[in-house]
């Protein structure tokens, strides 16, 4: 390898020269090429646990097991224990699957066992550390403000940067693991003060609190990978980040990140850096985007029905992309029975799965009352990923409904706002 353009510490040079083993040398070589491509001048040390986006080994698509084998056999491990995105849809008892779908998943995820074992060897925190909401208190991967991280999974990156005030770039899968093994990440982009300044001022001028995933989609489509500074949401949200505000920002961020490529947003008077620096975060010459009721209504109306049979009756409802918080699970556990009662019904007309982190589900189930209400309504709870469930031809043909704009964007699922979705799952009619 030619002399690196990046400024390396003695420790980094030692690794590059192979003094800490050939595989770690290969890891460092990868990170240097990656850092140089990003125009980074140096590395910074990673200061907290990772979160990574590939939790399963889909043959042909997932990470190459040979590469993970090389890392694990060299005895390498991440500096801090990490969490992973949700598990593959293999908890068949919770997913209302047809036999051929079960067979397809068994085949697709046939390498899951070895993959899970490799991840534990490489530093996975524990066997339940699978969720796209690792930052919830029940899961506990919560970095303090200012912590340098190297995360992937777009919805987690945007939450860590925006709501926790930690600093991570939008890393690609595998580069995330390699960075966390070396404990180094290139100083570039969202790790720098300049990279965290906003190039868009987004004014939310709606008559009531907008649906967070619709608002996030509008912002993401407009600003793409830029940093927006959002004003006007403090009319609807508490300025302290309590559970309601946290969940709103979680949903908004997931849509910003999935439908655009936003890695960081600031919300005036709410998110930590907006509280510290206010409108000074806006760069000179920033652009403006005004969002009103009509803007969001026309966005919602623009979504096409992607079902094979456009007029089909809904067959399945997936809620929890990103994974639900405990507060959100309790909300559905109140709303679903109330909607059933209003229609003089006992059970939902549409097979419905609520997805959340294993730790959140465990806590929810321990509180028995809400869990029993959902069970008797016919609802199933799962720790899997709705997107992974839909990402195959067999399931993509099903008439699936959701409240997730992210799931809608990446799959054939049809999106409804929460209140409308409730009506559909109770009646089975659209």
């Amino acid at each position: 390898m030619k002399d690196p353009a990046m400024k390396l510490t003695q420790e980094e040079r030692d690794i590059l020269e192979g003094n800490q083993g050939l595989i770690l040398q290969k890891v460092m070589r990868t990170l240097i090429l990656y850092g140089e491509a990003l125009s980074a001048e140096k590395f910074v040390d990673i200061e907290g646990p990772g979160h990574f986006s590939i939790p399963f080994a889909l043959p042909g698509v997932g990470p190459r097991l040979e590469m993970l084998d090389e890392l694990a056999e060299a005895g390498l491990k991440t500096k801090y224990p990490f969490t992973l995105d949700p598990k593959a849809p293999l908890d068949f008892e919770n997913l209302f699957l047809r036999r051929e779908q079960e067979q397809a998943f068994d085949e697709m995820f046939r390498n899951q066992g070895p993959y899970d074992r490799r991840m534990l060897q490489l530093g996975l925190r524990d066997e339940d550390a699978y969720t796209c909401t690792p930052y919830l208190p029940e899961v506990g991967n919560i970095a303090p403000k200012g912590t340098i991280l190297a995360w992937s999974e777009s919805s987690c990156v945007v939450y860590a940067n925006s709501v926790l005030g930690a600093r991570t770039n939008r890393n690609a899968a595998i580069m995330d693991i390699l960075s966390n093994i070396a404990g180094k990440t290139p100083l570039a982009g969202l790790l720098t003060d300049q990279g965290r300044r906003a190039t868009w001022r987004v004014e939310v001028d709606t008559s009531q609190m907008p649906n967070p995933q619709l608002l996030g989609a509008a912002i993401g489509m407009k600003v793409l990978e830029d940093v927006p500074y959002v004003v006007g949401l403090d009319r609807f949200l508490d300025t302290e980040i309590n559970e309601t505000t946290r969940d709103y920002l979680k949903e908004m961020g997931a849509a910003c990140a999935a439908i655009g490529a936003v890695g960081l947003y600031h919300v005036e008077h709410i998110t930590p850096e907006a509280i510290d620096h206010g409108a000074n975060l806006l760069r000179h010459g920033h652009r403006n985007y005004h969002i009103d009721d009509e803007e969001l209504r026309s966005l919602m109306d623009s979504y096409p029905v992607m079902w094979t049979e456009k007029g089909a009756k809904p067959e399945k409802c997936l809620i929890g992309c990103p994974h639900l918080s405990l507060r959100e699970l309790k909300w559905w556990a109140c709303q679903i029975p109330a909607a059933l009662e209003a229609h003089h019904k006992d059970r939902l007309a549409v097979d419905t799965v609520l997805c959340a982190a294993p730790q959140v589900l465990q806590e929810f189930k321990a509180e028995e009352q809400g869990y029993e209400r959902l069970r008797s309504a016919g609802v199933k709870l799962s720790g899997t990923c709705p997107e992974a469930y839909m990402d195959n031809q067999l399931c993509a043909r099903d008439a699936v409904i959701t409240n997730s704009n992210k799931l809608r964007a990446f799959t054939t699922a049809r999106m409804f706002l929460d209140e409308d979705l409730l009506e559909v799952i109770v009646t089975g009619e659209i």
Binding site: V157, A172, D176
Partner: protein, 147 residues
């Protein structure tokens, strides 16, 4: 008539090939997904969201793009594509390379041992000028000649 553009050589190579152009972001995972899943001998773009590339051959082409887009899981795509022997010859970015694109190309280089020639910052003019089927000569110093 030919035009010369100068960019930054990230993974340099001297080579020639045929241009395949997208003016919107190149979604690496969506583009290669089906070809990887079926272990196809030649990759065809299956990204329905990219009207310019959908249905066209990607293998051995010189992809001219602004940057890559899509899921962070796309990082594991290009090294897999390289391993399967269905990679493009080169990726020529008009803008500064993005983190997802950089990751995939570097992983292919170091962990598969296959260099996909990578040049970035070729400028908007480059992407406006180059068309599908143009003959391209890429040089190690980041020079790109479109013939």
């Amino acid at each position: 008539m030919s035009r010369v553009f100068k960019g930054r050589a990230i993974l340099p190579r001297n080579l020639e090939g045929e241009a395949l152009v997208t003016h919107s972001g190149f979604n690496t995972l969506a583009s290669f997904y089906k070809s990887m899943l079926t272990e196809a001998e030649v990759a065809i773009c299956h990204d329905q969201g990219n009207k310019e590339l959908f249905g066209k051959q990607l293998t051995d082409k010189i992809i001219c793009l602004p940057k890559t887009i899509g899921s962070t899981s796309a990082g594991a795509t290009l090294d897999r594509v390289a391993q399967l022997g269905i990679a493009p010859k080169a990726m020529l970015f008009s803008q500064h390379i993005d983190s997802l694109g950089a990751a995939g190309l570097v992983l292919a280089e170091v962990w598969v041992g296959m260099r996909i020639c990578t040049i970035d910052q070729l400028g908007d003019d480059f992407l406006e000028y180059v068309k599908d089927g143009h003959r391209i000569v890429a040089k190690e110093d980041g020079t790109v000649v479109v013939e």
